[in-house]
């Protein structure tokens, strides 16, 4: 029987302090208050002084509340029963289903040995041409969507979840608006994907500490499924909220802030989560897609900046479109050589012409004279934006490549595209009716 402590010495923010013996660092405890029972985690030991971070928050906790240590770190139940269910950051059900207590696994476990990783080699097809053609997503990649508030990043994530060829989806929601949570649920239910999905959701109104738990819980479960050979897609939205929770707690803990109030270990904290993305040599894989909102559309803000150094590229979502400039999949070279002979050439060629279009557009707006070539580019740019970049476009890779050739043929003569002659003779659309 574990001893119950009935005296809390100090309460500051979400952190309470009790005097106790024999407590382990990282151990869990329960705090029983008038509002119910919450989990709490040991975050500092100093002699017999134990600092605990209360998951449900410090609000309403009384100095007379009971604290009982559980003797184990944070764990979550892991089994096939999780599929189709919705939980909060502490692992409690959010739907009306039963609580799960079997087969508990620890979260935040050690890192994968780099020598057991393999070089990624499988493309994940998504049906979005701006991803499949221009910045292919690769199994085991970690990739955030950089965006600003108001952009449809959650819609993009939901579509990716539905269309990506993976075995299962784990959604980690952090600081989600309640309607966004409902949107995800409905979208996945309608798409018939609910039975292969697990939700760990922290909404904006939930206690801030639980927000920190979401990625760890989601990734611990993902890791177990991956070890069983499953190809798991993990969606984390929005990682900026996660970072903001870190900031909030670090400041309450009176830690020295480093940059715009964020703690100095922000990079490490983010990396420890993103680096869970892995392709095991003899098992499954974890692919992580995150959403990172950039406050003020500023990519040098600490959160997107640190994220960029960790992840393998990023997708920029701006004006309802995935921008070709700035967006980058660092792993695309690993897969786009084996898709179709024209893939790489089309990828580079189309973007080069689109860059030229942007230049012409700039020239036009400054009032310079438009040459015939400029006019061709202007036409091309508009068609490209309409038929490829628009988020509603939903076609498989091969069809998207064919469509690229059609667009080129509509706007240019073959030799103007700068593509290799052998590709031109093979892929240039043959019977085009001249207008």
């Amino acid at each position: 029987m574990k001893k119950v402590y009935s005296r809390i010495d100090e309460i500051a923010g979400n952190v309470v302090r009790v005097t106790a013996e024999g407590v382990q660092y990282g151990e869990l405890a329960t705090v029983k208050s008038a509002h119910g029972t919450s989990l709490a985690e040991v975050i500092r030991l100093s002699g017999n002084q134990v600092a605990l971070q209360v998951y449900a928050g410090g609000r309403g906790v009384s100095t007379g509340d009971e604290v009982q240590f559980l003797g184990n770190p944070m764990r979550v139940s892991f089994s096939e029963d999780l599929l189709g269910r919705v939980f909060d950051g502490s692992g409690n059900p959010r739907d009306n289903g039963p609580e799960l207590h079997e087969n508990l696994i620890e979260i935040g476990t050690p890192s994968v040995n780099p020598s057991k990783r393999i070089i990624p080699r499988n493309m994940i097809r998504t049906g979005i041409p701006m991803i499949d053609v221009f910045n292919s997503l690769v199994e085991s990649q970690k990739l955030p969507i950089f965006s600003v508030s108001g952009e449809p990043y959650n819609q993009v994530l939901a579509r990716l979840a539905l269309q990506a060829e993976v075995d299962m989806i784990i959604l980690g929601g952090m600081g989600l608006k309640y309607d966004d949570y409902l949107y995800f649920r409905e979208a996945l239910e309608e798409g018939g994907a609910m039975s292969r999905t697990i939700f760990f959701v922290h909404t904006a109104s939930d206690p801030v500490v639980e927000c920190l738990m979401v990625p760890d819980v989601a990734l611990a479960v993902a890791e177990r499924f991956a070890l069983q050979g499953k190809r798991v897609l993990c969606l984390l939205t929005d990682m900026t909220n996660f970072a903001d929770s870190l900031k909030e707690i670090a400041i309450t803990m009176e830690r020295v802030p480093s940059n715009r109030g964020y703690p100095g270990d922000l990079y490490t904290q983010l990396a420890q989560r993103y680096e869970k993305a892995v392709d095991f040599d003899v098992a499954g894989s974890i692919t992580i897609l995150g959403a990172t909102t950039m406050p003020g559309d500023d990519v040098t803000h600490p959160v997107p900046d640190n994220t960029g150094y960790i992840t393998e590229g990023q997708y920029y979502l701006r004006n309802q479109r995935i921008e070709p400039f700035g967006s980058l999949s660092r792993l695309k070279q690993m897969v786009n050589k084996d898709t179709r002979a024209d893939h790489r050439a089309i990828m580079d060629g189309m973007i080069r012409l689109y860059a030229n279009y942007k230049e012409s557009l700039e020239k036009k707006s400054m009032g310079f004279r438009m040459s015939e070539w400029d006019n061709k580019l202007l036409k091309y740019g508009e068609i490209f934006e309409e038929r490829m970049m628009d988020l509603s476009v939903n076609i498989p890779l091969e069809q998207a490549l064919d469509r690229c050739w059609e667009i080129l043929a509509e706007c240019f003569e073959p030799e103007e595209t700068g593509l290799r002659s052998d590709l031109l003779s093979e892929f240039w659309p043959k019977q085009r009716e001249s207008a």
Binding site: E21, G22, Y25, P110, V112, Y267, D305, R330, F368
Partner: protein, 597 residues
């Protein structure tokens, strides 16, 4: 001596506070007993009275107040001996592949393995004889390791003079077999094996003299070797925002650099990138030796998700191994990617220690620590007259890509060359994305200074014209300025940019760089007879096309000369004389050389 022990009295993040019974040293290694079965390696970083604060090189979850701590009396050290080359270590010199055999997919806590293969037999050839007087770092014998003769040396920590009593005969020995017995001046006997330890935070200084780094370290990247050269024994840094190609540039350098041994320290970066190196290097052949690249490489890998405290150790582990191989008269290149992550690890520890923060919360000693690290590079003359060097190249990942931050600035103060990467260049797919105007180097390169200075000047002027043209348009630019701009774009396109995936263009040897630069110089220093801007543009487009084909042709093949002649013909058509600017630069350079000579 009685072993010092202690008990944990506090835990905060990866720092534990320990009440110590007995003596304790700063930077001493201790082990925290976790539930009596796992022992977590830690290092003392501050002592106050009988309280020692230690950074734990593992996750601290599960440690309780009262847990036993045992101290070793030793500083954090690495094993030195044959068998280091080709290994993949973590920051504390644990061999990762062997660790995987033992613990599977994950890095379990408290498992430490021998960094050298104790069973492997080495073919020992004695070099010293009984009766010889030796001092630290003198060679006792050699064993072949890959393509090198690995010197078995008197351990560097043995002060004073020793006389050799006995030395093993030629034959097969393991690293822990005794290969020599020596006697100190007071008659004490010492048995020496092929292995010894050295504390990572102390520089190895067993050399006769430190030399000025003068010989270029060829990287086969044109822009570096020609414009921003690095010397053997020198230091350089590569700061750049994310996505600008720091890691790719380091990977290219690790493959092509003309040095004997390459040590790659992946410090707090992506695991995926290390995996590429680990899996590709054994397949790649070293063009100089025809053997696997891995045979001359050591990888030290402490990726971003591995424990933070070991990041600092990984950088020092790397440089210590580099110094060890330097003692064998070899040229060693240490690549550290990224030093910012190491600085951040220091910042985290400093925060836990509640030290007064400096700029951006980095500790006040950031500068001196960075300086101390880069100062471990150097070219040296060893006691036996042979030369060795350690060259250090570190990447820096400045927050927001802004070079005005503490880590970049502290690094720039102490390095000899600065290869600043620019987001604009990488967005424009101009690789390597080293900024040709902002970067600098204090070392002498392959090409006479005057010529490269002219080319740099041209790039500056071309950039100015380009800026102006954006405002006034092509119409408002004079033909002369336009040609300057075209020339500078031409230099960029055919010389600065290099396709690292191309088998020929990917690595350009010295002879070819000299040859090609001469031709390039002839073009950019020429007065050209061009009537209009359209004509100029077409002319340079044509030249560029020829030159790119030329860059792609194998050295000194018929194709190579064919392209070269085509370029020369095209140049002859329009060349009317030599640009006055160019003449000035070459003459000035000749004068300075003349006055020096």
């Amino acid at each position: 001596m009685k072993q010092t022990t202690g008990q944990v009295v506090g835990v905060s993040g990866n720092m534990v506070t320990v009440r110590v019974q007995g003596q304790v040293r700063l930077n001493e290694v201790g082990y925290v007993a976790l539930e009596g079965e796992r022992f977590l390696k830690s290092e003392v970083i501050r002592i106050r009275g009988d309280l020692a604060e230690m950074q734990v090189f593992e996750m601290t979850r599960g440690i309780s107040v009262g847990d036993e701590v045992s101290f070793t009396g030793e500083l954090l050290a690495v094993n030195l001996g044959p068998g280091l080359l080709g290994q993949v270590y973590d920051g504390l010199q644990n061999p990762l592949p062997q660790l995987a055999e033992k613990t599977g997919f994950f890095l379990d806590r408290g498992v430490y393995l021998d960094s050298l293969d104790a069973e492997r037999q080495w073919e020992f050839t004695p070099k010293a004889s009984p009766g010889d007087v030796v001092t630290a770092a003198d060679t006792l014998g050699t064993v072949p390791e890959g393509i090198f003769q690995h010197r078995i040396m008197v351990p560097f920590n043995m002060n004073g003079r020793y006389s050799v009593d006995w030395i093993a005969e030629r034959g097969e020995y393991r690293v822990d077999d005794t290969v020599a017995e020596v006697r100190d001046e007071r008659g004490g006997k010492h048995q020496l094996t092929m292995r010894f330890q050295w504390p990572v935070k102390r520089a190895i200084e067993q050399y006769a003299e430190r030399l000025k780094p003068s010989e270029p370290m060829v990287t086969k990247v044109r822009m570096i070797d020609t414009f921003f050269p690095v010397a053997r024994g020198g230091t350089y840094c590569i700061p750049g925002p994310f996505g600008a190609g720091k890691t790719v540039l380091q990977q290219i350098t690790s493959r092509h650099a003309e040095v004997d041994v390459v040590i790659i320290t992946a410090c707090g970066e992506r695991a995926g990138e290390v995996v590429e190196t680990i899996q590709e290097f054994p397949e790649l052949t070293d063009p100089r030796t025809g053997r696997s690249l891995m045979e001359r490489t050591i990888i030290i890998c402490n990726t971003s998700s591995m424990p933070v405290a070991a990041r600092e150790a990984s950088v020092y582990t790397g440089v210590t191994l580099a110094e060890y191989y330097r003692q064998m008269g070899l040229d060693v290149l240490l690549l550290a990617d990224s030093t910012s992550r190491w600085a951040q690890a220091m910042r985290e520890m400093s925060g836990r220690l509640e030290e007064i923060p400096g700029e951006e919360a980095f500790p006040a000693y950031l500068e001196s620590v960075i300086a101390g690290f880069y100062e471990r590079a150097g070219a040296v003359r060893l006691a036996d007259g042979s030369h060795g060097s350690v060259t250090i190249g570190g990447t820096v990942s400045p927050a927001g890509g802004n070079f005005e931050e503490p880590v970049t600035q502290s690094t720039l103060k102490v390095v000899g060359a600065f290869h600043g990467l620019s987001r604009e260049r990488s967005d424009a797919r101009r690789y390597p994305s080293i900024h040709p105007l902002d970067s600098w180097s204090k070392y002498a390169g392959l090409i006479p200074h005057g010529k490269t200075e002219y080319a740099r000047d041209l790039l500056f002027r071309g950039d100015e014209v380009g800026q102006m043209m954006k405002v006034v348009g092509e119409e408002g630019t004079s033909l002369q300025d336009y040609i300057v701009n075209q020339k500078s774009e031409f230099v960029d396109a055919v010389y600065l940019q290099q396709n690292s995936f191309d088998p020929v263009d990917g690595a350009v040897m010295v002879e070819r760089q000299r040859h090609v630069f001469d031709l390039l110089f002839e073009i950019i220093s020429a007065e050209l007879d061009l009537e209009s801007k359209d004509e100029a543009r077409q002319y340079f487009n044509q030249l560029r096309q020829y030159f790119l084909d030329y860059n792609g042709a194998q050295w000194k093949t018929d194709k190579f000369y064919e392209h070269e002649n085509a370029i020369k013909e095209l140049l002859k058509e329009r060349k009317t004389g030599i640009d006055s600017h160019a003449r000035q630069f070459v003459e000035q350079a000749a004068e300075t050389v003349g006055s020096q000579g």
